[in-house]
């Protein structure tokens, strides 16, 4: 099959590799029909995440048709499914509590050592996201082996096109969980750093959960424009002093809840950020954390901090004093995708949530390297790239 493989910093290629096979009873194999490039993939592309190996197949946002099932799978050949990016067993203590991304068993035993050493306890497996999270081959490929297929994938009813449901695999539940973690109360003002897919879905979700105002922060006009269409007020941090603006816009109180949807590659020329960049490029620290710092300082006393953004390592200059003195609460984590799927699928079917606005580019899987470059270089215009195996051939027919 053809698959998009990582070979090093800014070097991804479509390679021909062996097709996946059923290896465990609960596995299934799916033939991918749509798969997306995620902001998290850019962290791999920029070589910010350790434990990558040349040839690793990327992609954790994908859906397709079931073509093979193991004896323990509950799926049937021919069903269309969206696959969560978290690989969770469904039967451990954490899965029992719906903390799927903390699953004890989804990550192979040997790979769990890395998480155990780095974080104290290992997390679940993830598709296409380094050997820290299992070294599983991802979904930017023609076929994928899906472990625990009786627990993860959600079956999509006929007649609902891929683009409406593809983002159930990650960014829609991630935006939703980000808003949930902000413990929004009616009348709240919520500030969201980053208007990428996660931030934009967090904004939509925050309004659905009763936020009165959402203030969106980014520097890409096109992304801020999208935030506006959902009713958010915007701050362009290149033109405006973010903290000062937030204080003015909230009558000197600060936002009731803040959401960091930026992550370890925060942009911008702020003093602390530039120091972080120098450190990152000299391997003194990998995480640039300007956005979470600013969010904590801006957040009102006793407020809530939600951090869907991904961080991997150890940071300094974390405003621990502000965090403690103001009595803030922080909730974060990889998304417990499986927990949200039934509710969010229903919301999509009922038309309460639309996800298709996000897609700016559709490419053939063969053009994936170009997709990465575009998404990386032009974040203003490129909001989401969806890859479709065989798309070129099909659209060729149409033309």
């Amino acid at each position: 099959m053809r698959a998009l493989a990582w070979h090093g910093k800014h070097d991804v290629r479509v390679d021909t590799v062996d097709d996946p096979e059923i290896l465990n009873p609960r596995d299934c194999i799916i033939k991918v029909t749509s798969t997306a490039i995620c902001g998290s993939d850019l962290h791999l592309y920029d070589d910010y995440i350790p434990t990558m190996k040349a040839g690793d197949i990327l992609g954790h946002e994908f859906m397709g048709e079931v073509v093979e099932v193991g004896a323990g799978s509950t799926l049937k050949k021919g069903q269309r499914v969206v696959v969560p990016f978290t690989i969770s067993c469904g039967s451990c203590y954490h899965c029992g509590k719906h903390q799927y991304s903390a699953c004890d068993n989804g990550n192979p035993a040997d790979n769990q050592d890395i998480g155990q050493e780095l974080y104290g306890q290992p997390m679940s497996g993830l598709f296409g996201y380094s050997h820290l999270t299992g070294g599983y081959a991802g979904g930017q490929a023609e076929y994928v082996r899906v472990p625990f297929s009786d627990v993860g994938p959600i079956v999509i009813p006929d007649g609902i096109e891929d683009e409406k449901v593809l983002f159930l695999s990650d960014i829609l539940p991630t935006g939703w969980q980000a808003a949930e973690n902000a413990d929004i109360e009616p009348g709240d003002t919520v500030a969201v750093w980053g208007c990428g897919p996660v931030g934009l879905f967090a904004i939509q979700s925050a309004f659905l959960m009763g936020a009165e105002r959402v203030i969106a922060i980014d520097h890409f006009p096109r992304r801020l424009e999208l935030a506006k269409t959902f009713g958010a007020e915007t701050i362009n941090f290149e033109e405006t002093k973010t903290y000062e603006a937030l204080m003015q816009m909230t009558g000197g109180i600060g936002p009731d809840a803040v959401i960091d949807a930026v992550g370890l590659e925060a942009h911008g020329f702020f003093v602390d950020n530039v120091i972080d960049q120098i450190k990152a490029s000299t391997f003194l620290g990998t995480d640039r954390i300007h956005s979470i710092r600013q969010a904590i300082v801006a957040c009102r006393k006793g407020g809530r901090v939600s951090m869907p953004a991904v961080y991997g390592g150890i940071v300094d200059k974390f405003p621990l004093g502000a965090f403690m003195e103001k009595g803030l609460t922080l909730k974060t984590g990889q998304t417990h995708v499986q927990h949200y799927l039934p509710g969010l699928l229903a919301a999509i079917i009922e038309g309460k949530i639309d996800t298709t606005f996000l897609i700016s580019h559709r490419l053939d899987l063969e053009e994936a390297p170009q997709g990465y470059k575009m998404f990386h270089d032009d974040q203003n215009e490129v909001t989401k790239v969806v890859l479709k195996p065989g798309f070129g051939a099909r659209s060729g027919d149409v033309v």
Binding site: E21, L23, G72, C92, N105
Partner: protein, 176 residues
């Protein structure tokens, strides 16, 4: 010791014995876990470096353990103590290349299942042979034991052992 922590977690341990203790909580009843473990022929399903264990009789078993370069080492072991559903201890018989002993306890943990703790002691021979033996276990005994317990947990909780291999060929290489 002035605290309640297990002795295997002490900062200073006796240098002549390589002692390791690892615990894992498994969401299954103690009796079920004990029964699976007590049949030593099952252990190779989750113990990475064990090629196979032949059960000789109720107390004795023959262990075939992977060694570098496709070789194996073998020894016989005897169950030295046993409390059904709660604990089992074994020891290699005289003449084993790597004298070793193990004890596994199964402690009821209520709604969380069972805490399984394994204490494995190796008496590594001195000198060059010792280095070969160290290689034999491919990694530190503590890491080996921790990984084996995780696989035991996966098997008991999910019915299978997680792998990120994509093809049968990769899986065979991984398990070799």
């Amino acid at each position: 010791m002035t605290d309640d922590a297990p002795s295997a977690t002490a900062k200073h341990t006796s240098p002549d014995q390589d002692l390791t203790m690892q615990s894992v909580t498994i969401g299954r009843p103690a009796d079920e876990l004990f029964a699976y473990f007590r049949d030593f022929s099952n252990l190779s399903s989750f113990m990475d470096n064990v090629e196979r264990i032949d059960v000789i009789d109720e107390h004795r078993s023959h262990w075939v353990v992977k060694a570098p370069a496709g070789k194996t080492v073998e020894w016989d072991a005897t169950v030295t103590a046993e409390e059904p559903g709660r604990s089992i201890s074994w020891q290699s018989e005289d003449g084993a290349d790597v004298p070793n002993s193990g004890r596994v306890t199964f402690t009821d943990a209520g709604a969380r299942g069972t805490v399984v703790s394994a204490t494995i002691a190796y008496d590594p021979p001195a000198g060059i042979v010792g280095k070969v033996i160290a290689k034999l276990f491919q990694r530190e005994p503590a890491i080996q034991a921790r990984r084996d317990l995780r696989r035991f947990k996966q098997l008991m909780e999910t019915g299978e052992i997680a792998t990120s291999s994509r093809t049968q060929t990769q899986l065979q290489e991984e398990r070799a």
